[in-house]
């Protein structure tokens, strides 16, 4: 909507002011923590949406914390269904002032209630073991609202899954550049008649493509890709689709199903989804995303946000967060779930190295970890995601040319501010 462009600033200004107040409270707590470090026994609730093996691992870690911490802190895990359910419940709880002490959250969930988040800057400054050890992109993402609002938790990235058997058969390698992609795609297309590549997340695909060409997608001021580099990126995408090198997932829902049935040679998807690929009769390969001018890969997954208003609870919750993000915990977490460690140092542990040895996916992720970028969150960012994807699909279906691609995406984005 055009009409709503004027006003949001006023609200966010107000939010920022309030947030600052909360921040000063938190600062006191953190100061105290540094000074005295006395925490009363307390109970902390942590809302999450982890299931199955993920939940088991989280529970194990939490049990460990509960039994080993010296303050008598008990963390209670509460599963809140799917991610979207957790999002809804957080939103409702924010409205009802019933937020939990800790929760998993994506940045884009938080915009309506930023002012309820505890600022962690002082905790990080005073009571954290080497914040710089946290993967850089994660740090950036956790402080993108102008303060440290979260610590990273279950992180993953987009990688290229490919049919190694097919690649070997055709004598091609996992593509490293756009040019490789185009070349390989032609070979596959000619030989097998199937598409070469697909993207589970189409908006993410545009963003990554732009980044790989050294351009940016959007920020709170509007689209940023009205440049030659930007046009090039769309040319690349347009070519992929109009030549039949790339395809939409369509009725299959996930590309994991498509590749499982060997109907596509490779696709770009979240590293967390590797377990849903059924490689029967062929071998799965995983590679970093191909780049162009630079390499760039989207990252995904949530962070942990704190809402406790009580100083003691904040301290207690921080103890837990420190525990979860410790090198040891994060590598343990990563090894048993397939998510990525949040600390650089975790990649160096023997445990994780051993894991990477046998897990090609983890290895590929590690290889591109320096190239991670995150999508900025601002008022219109959700709308942009939601409107670009259908536009993307329409463009593919229309076999649109590069110019149309560029114009359509640009106007779709601009309509959201």
């Amino acid at each position: 909507g055009q009409s709503s462009t004027q006003t949001p600033e006023t609200t966010s200004d107000a939010q920022v002011t309030e947030a600052t107040e909360v921040a000063s409270d938190a600062a006191t707590a953190a100061d105290e923590a540094a000074a005295t470090k006395s925490i009363e026994p307390t109970e902390i609730t942590f809302w999450h949406y982890m299931t199955g093996n993920l939940e088991e691992t989280l529970t194990a870690l939490t049990d460990e914390f509960n039994s080993t911490n010296e303050y008598g802190i008990t963390v209670t895990l509460v599963n809140q269904g799917y991610a979207s359910d957790l999002q809804t419940k957080l939103q409702a709880s924010a409205a009802a002032d019933a937020l939990p002490d800790l929760t998993q959250a994506y940045n884009n969930w938080l915009t309506p209630y930023l002012d309820k988040i505890v600022h962690l800057d002082d905790f990080v400054a005073n009571d954290f073991d080497n914040w710089d050890d946290i993967v850089e992109a994660y740090r950036g993402e956790c402080s993108e609202f102008g303060f440290v609002h979260a610590v990273p938790f279950n992180k993953s990235t987009y990688v290229l899954f490919y049919n190694k058997t097919l690649f070997d058969e055709l004598g091609i390698e996992a593509p490293k550049t756009w040019a490789d992609v185009e070349a390989d795609a032609k070979i596959v297309k000619d030989a097998k008649g199937i598409a070469f590549i697909g993207y589970d997340d189409s908006t993410g695909a545009i963003e990554a493509t732009l980044k790989q060409n050294g351009e940016n997608f959007v920020d709170e001021t509007g689209a940023l890709f009205d440049t030659d580099g930007g046009r090039e990126a769309f040319e690349y995408l347009s070519n992929l689709y109009s030549n039949g090198y790339a395809r939409l997932v369509g009725e299959d829902g996930y590309f994991s199903n498509v590749i499982s049935n060997q109907n596509i040679a490779s696709y770009v998807g979240s590293s967390a989804g590797v377990s849903y690929i059924t490689a029967e009769g062929w071998e799965l390969g995983v590679a970093p995303l191909p780049g162009n001018k630079v390499n760039a890969a989207n990252m995904a997954g949530t962070n942990i946000v704190m809402f406790s208003q009580d100083t003691n609870k904040q301290l207690a919750a921080w103890e837990y967060l420190k525990f979860l993000t410790s090198t040891e915990s994060t590598s343990k977490w990563a090894v048993s779930t397939g998510y990525l460690p949040v600390r650089q140092s975790a990649y160096e542990t023997a445990e994780y190295k051993a894991y990477m040895e046998e897990n090609i996916c983890a290895a590929a992720c590690y290889e591109q970890s320096k190239d991670f970028f995150y999508s900025p969150t601002f008022d219109a960012s959700n709308d942009i995601r939601n409107s670009v994807s259908p536009a993307f699909e329409q463009l593919v279906l229309d076999k649109a040319d590069a110019q149309t691609w560029f114009d359509t995406i640009l106007s779709t984005i601009n309509a959201q501010y």
Partner: protein, 292 residues
């Protein structure tokens, strides 16, 4: 009768209390919300009062599209579902021996989990190996990309929705059929009434209250279609949003874009549309309501 005139409210009391607390109050709040600019449900803050949300709504082409899609959906699904359900209910009811079996079978979709239903229908609509295309191929029709192409998304959704709403209607109609006095059918047989005429002149008029109910409820439900879209297109609104419906739009605005005011305005518009149409519907059908 005067002294008892308020007794009716005593009977309604439990319902009224619940309704006020859990439907009317939030409803009123939603209506108010729709007039507040940049309303935030979190802290009840807003920046202006007026029709801003409505302007935003009507200038959004997506909303227009969702209105159109919903209208198409309602027009196709409601009558088709009622006619088919009526047919099946009557057929089931006329079976002597297998009645219970059929009754149970036709009810099963209603208890089956939505996820399962979505998956099965996606399979049925599959362009390569789906049952529907297979059947069409028997008649020499080329495979249709039901779920991949925008132009087939609405038809696929409509077919799915008709099927899905039938169990409920059949249940209601079967219950209704039990209340028709056997004598009417006896008289009709004596009058040598052909089967179809028995259906149109005896069964349908006798079921009129249930048919009106089903069409009103069906229409309300159809206007609020969301789950069907969600489960058929795996959480999306069809290829390139081609099956975007009003509630899908509202939901998206509310839970994903945090545009509470716009979502509320959408709900109010939806509410008014349904209200107007049900009133017309009740007027039209109510005219020929005969008492016993």
């Amino acid at each position: 009768m005067d002294k008892k005139s308020f007794k009716g409210y005593l009977y309604l009391l439990p319902s009224i209390i619940i309704m006020i607390c859990f439907t009317l109050y939030p409803l009123v709040r939603a209506i108010i919300m729709s007039f507040l600019g940049n309303y935030s449900i979190i802290n009840d803050g807003y920046t202006s009062i007026g029709f801003e949300n409505y302007q935003a709504l009507f200038s959004d082409p997506d909303f227009g599209k969702s209105l159109l899609n919903t209208a198409i959906y309602v027009i196709c699904v409601v009558p088709a579902s009622i006619i088919l359900s009526l047919l099946f209910a009557v057929l089931i009811n006329s079976c002597k021996k297998l009645k219970a079996l059929f009754q149970t079978i036709y009810f099963l979709p209603y208890v089956t989990s939505v996820i399962a239903i979505g998956i099965v229908w996606r399979w049925m609509f599959n362009s390569n190996y789906g049952l529907i295309n297979y059947v069409l191929s028997i008649f020499g029709i080329e495979p249709i990309q039901w779920l991949n192409l925008p132009e087939y998304a609405m038809p696929a959704l409509i077919i799915f929705a008709i099927w899905k709403s039938m169990a409920f209607n059949i249940l209601i109609f079967l219950a209704g059929l039990q209340t028709i006095p056997e004598d009417l059918y006896r008289a009709a047989r004596i009058d040598s009434t052909p089967r179809f005429r028995v259906f149109t002149r005896i069964t349908v008029p006798s079921l009129a209250p249930m048919i009106v109910y089903s069409s009103v409820i069906g229409m309300i439900g159809a206007f609020k279609v969301y789950n069907e879209v969600f489960s058929l297109f795996q959480g999306k609104a069809g290829p390139a949003n081609s099956a975007m419906t009003i509630v899908y739009y509202i939901y998206d605005k509310f839970y994903n874009s945090y545009k509470y005011g716009v979502a509320a305005a959408g709900s109010v518009v939806l509410f008014l549309i349904i209200l107007a149409l049900t009133q017309i519907q009740l007027r039209v059908t109510g005219g020929r309501k005969g008492k016993n």
